[in-house]
C-alpha cells in the first residue's frame, strides 16, 4: 500500500485540517477534522497541495486530494448528513515507476450519529479490480473499433460492388446497342440487296418505312413499338427473295399461276425471319401487309382487327406509294387519284380509322411542303 500511516506533523501547521493516514489492510483513510467546514477545506486543500511539508513520506498528498477538488459541494452534503456517502470509483493513477494503480474513494461522515463532525475518506486500492476492468473495457473498445472498421469495409465493398455492377450494366448496354446496330446493318444489307434485285421499287422501301412511321405516330402507337414497325417496313418485301426472277421481273401481266407463286412472298418472309428472335416483333408487316380489312387478302385471309395494326398501317402506305410511282408498264397516278382510290377502299381493303388518320397526315405533309416551297420563292 502506498499510503503509509502517518501522524500529523504538527498542530501548528498553517492549515486547520489535520489529515491522518493510516493503513488498514488495503485501505488508507484521510480524516478531515471536525472543526473544519468543507468550504474552508476547499481553500485549505489548495494550501495542502502547495505545502510540501505536510506531504506524507513517499506519496504526495496532492495525489490523494486531487480527486476531491471540485467535489466540495458533495462533500458538504455528506458532512451535513444530506448524503449518506460519496464514492469516486476506480480513479486511475500512473505511478512514477511506469505502473498504474487504481483507487476507489469512499467519503463517509466521521460520526454517523452527529452531522458536521467531519469526514472520513477511505481510499481503497482497487488496482486488481481496475486492471480487470481496464482489460474488459479495452476488449469492449477493441471489439467496437473492429466492428466500426468492418462496417466501413462492408460499406466500401458495397460501394465497389455497386460501382462494378454499374460498369457491367453499362458494358452490357453498350454491347446490346452494338448488337442492335449489327442487326440493323445486316437488315439494311438485305433491303439493299432486295432493292438491287427489284429495280422497279428503288427508293420505295425507305419511303414507305418513313411514311409508316409518321402514320404510326399519328395513330398514337407507343414509341417502344416504333422501332419494330420500322424494321418490319424495311423488310416488308423480303419474302420476294424467294420469288423467281422470271416472275418478279416480268413486264407483262402475271398469269394466275404466277400470282399464286407471287402471293407466297409473305409466307417466305415469315419463314426467313421467324428463326431470328430479334426480328419476331417486326414480323407483322412482312407477313400480313397483303391482308385486307374485309378478309379478302392473303396469305391467311385475316379480317378486321385480326390483322396486326402495323400491317394495317403499312397496307395503306404501301398502296399509296406504289400507285404514285412510275412502273415500266404504267405511269404513276396523280395524287388526287390515289387519294380517291384509298378512300374508295376504306372499309374493304383498308382499316377505315387508319385511312382517316392517313388522310390527315398527307394533308399536313402537303401543307408543310407548300410552306417550304413558298419560303423558297420568297428567298
Amino acid at each position: 500500500m502506498s499510503f503509509p500511516a502517518k501522524e500529523p506533523k504538527s498542530k501548528n501547521l498553517p492549515i486547520r485540517a489535520a489529515l491522518t493516514f493510516s493503513q488498514l489492510y488495503n485501505i488508507a483513510y484521510a480524516q478531515i477534522t471536525p472543526d473544519l467546514t468543507i468550504l474552508q477545506a476547499s481553500s485549505n486543500f489548495q494550501s495542502i497541495l502547495l505545502d510540501k511539508e505536510i506531504e506524507p513520506e513517499g506519496r504526495p498528498l496532492t495525489e490523494v486530494l486531487f480527486e476531491l477538488v471540485g467535489n466540495e459541494t458533495v462533500l458538504e452534503l455528506v458532512l451535513h448528513g444530506a448524503l449518506p456517502s460519496f464514492h469516486l470509483e476506480l480513479i486511475r493513477r500512473d505511478q512514477d515507476d511506469g505502473t498504474t494503480r487504481f483507487l476507489t474513494f469512499h467519503i463517509l461522515p466521521l460520526d454517523e450519529f452527529q452531522a458536521g463532525k467531519g469526514l472520513l475518506c477511505l481510499i481503497e486500492d482497487a488496482t486488481r479490480l481496475g486492471q480487470m476492468g481496464q482489460r474488459l473495457i479495452q476488449r469492449r473498445n477493441d471489439v467496437k473499433l473492429m466492428q466500426e472498421a468492418l462496417a466501413r469495409a462492408y460499406a466500401e465493398l458495397e460501394r465497389l460492388a455497386s460501382s462494378d455492377r454499374k460498369t457491367a450494366e453499362f458494358a452490357l448496354q453498350v454491347a446490346n446497342l452494338e448488337l442492335q446496330e449489327a442487326y440493323d446493318r445486316t437488315m439494311e444489307g438485305w433491303v439493299r440487296a432486295l432493292d438491287l434485285r427489284d429495280r422497279e421499287i428503288e427508293g420505295h422501301t425507305l419511303r414507305v418505312a418513313d411514311m409508316t412511321l409518321r402514320l404510326a405516330r399519328a395513330m398514337g402507337i407507343a414509341e417502344s413499338e416504333i422501332i419494330h414497325i420500322r424494321r418490319g417496313a424495311l423488310l416488308h418485301d423480303i419474302g420476294k427473295m424467294g420469288i423467281a426472277d422470271s416472275i418478279l421481273h416480268k413486264e407483262a401481266e402475271l398469269t394466275e399461276e404466277e400470282w399464286t407463286v407471287m402471293k407466297k412472298h409473305p409466307s417466305y418472309a415469315y419463314e426467313m425471319l421467324a428463326a431470328i428472335p430479334y426480328l419476331h416483333p417486326a414480323l407483322d408487316i412482312p407477313y400480313c401487309h397483303h391482308e385486307k380489312w374485309d378478309g379478302n387478302g392473303y396469305p391467311r385471309g385475316l379480317r378486321g382487327e385480326q390483322i396486326p395494326i402495323a400491317a394495317r398501317l403499312f397496307a395503306v402506305v404501301d398502296v399509296w406509294d406504289a400507285l404514285l410511282s412510275n412502273r415500266p408498264y404504267r405511269q404513276g397516278w396523280a395524287t388526287e387519284e390515289v387519294r380517291e382510290h384509298i378512300l374508295a377502299n376504306r372499309g374493304s381493303h383498308f382499316d377505315p380509322r387508319v385511312v382517316d388518320v392517313f388522310m390527315r397526315v398527307i394533308e399536313e405533309l402537303a401543307h408543310a411542303q407548300e410552306l417550304a416551297w413558298s419560303d423558297e420563292v420568297c428567298l
Binding site: E67, G70, N71
Partner: protein
C-alpha cells in the same frame, strides 16, 4: 500578491477519440501511438503562469463512451470550470456521442465554458467528419467556434487548451 488559482476541466468524448493523447501532448509534450483505454478518471495538472500568479489546470481525462448521465460520471463533472468535448474526425460514429456529450454538458451547466474539438486532423485522407458537421454542432450549442487538432503532430493542441483557460478566466 501571488495568487494560485486551480481550475478543473474535463475531457469528454467517445472511446478512442484521443482524449488521453491530447492531454498527454499538452501536459507532457509527447505522443504515443498505442491505444490503451482510460478507465475511471486520469487527472493531470498543467501550470500556466499569469500576471496575477499561477493557474493550475486540473485536467480530468475520463473513460470514453459511457453516458455522462450516470451518477459516477455526473460526480466527476461536478465542480468543473470548463469542458472539452472531443470527436475523432476519421470515425463518423463518434459524432453522435460528441453531440450528446456537448448537449448533456450544456444541460448540466448552461454557462460552462465548452470547447468542441475534432481530433486526428492529420489523417486527412481518412476524414469522414466535415467542417460543416462540426459547424452544425457549434450552431446547435450556440458556440463560437470549433478546433481541429492533432495530438500526433501537436497541431492546435496548445491553442485549444489556452482558449479554454481564457474562457474560464473571463468568467471569474
Amino acid at each position: 500578491m501571488f495568487t494560485v488559482v486551480q481550475k478543473k476541466i474535463c475531457l469528454l468524448g467517445d472511446f478512442a477519440v484521443g482524449k488521453t493523447s491530447l492531454m498527454r501532448r499538452y501536459v507532457e509534450g509527447r505522443f504515443d501511438d498505442k491505444y490503451l483505454s482510460t478507465i475511471g478518471v486520469k487527472i493531470s495538472r498543467k501550470t500556466l503562469f499569469r500576471d496575477y500568479g499561477q493557474l493550475n489546470l486540473l485536467i480530468w481525462d475520463m473513460t470514453g463512451g459511457d453516458d455522462i448521465g450516470t451518477q459516477a460520471r455526473a460526480s466527476y463533472l461536478r465542480g468543473a470550470s470548463g469542458a472539452m468535448v472531443v470527436c475523432d474526425l476519421t470515425r463518423r460514429e463518434t459524432l453522435t456521442v460528441f453531440e450528446r456529450y456537448a448537449h448533456q454538458m450544456r444541460a448540466l451547466n448552461p454557462h460552462l465554458p465548452l470547447v468542441l474539438v475534432g481530433n486526428k486532423a492529420d489523417l486527412i485522407a481518412e476524414r469522414t467528419i466535415s467542417d460543416a458537421d462540426m459547424q452544425s454542432v457549434c450552431n446547435s450549442l450556440g458556440s463560437e467556434r470549433y478546433f481541429l487538432t492533432s495530438a500526433k503532430t501537436g497541431a492546435e493542441v496548445e491553442t485549444v487548451f489556452t482558449y479554454l483557460a481564457e474562457l474560464i478566466e473571463k468568467l471569474e
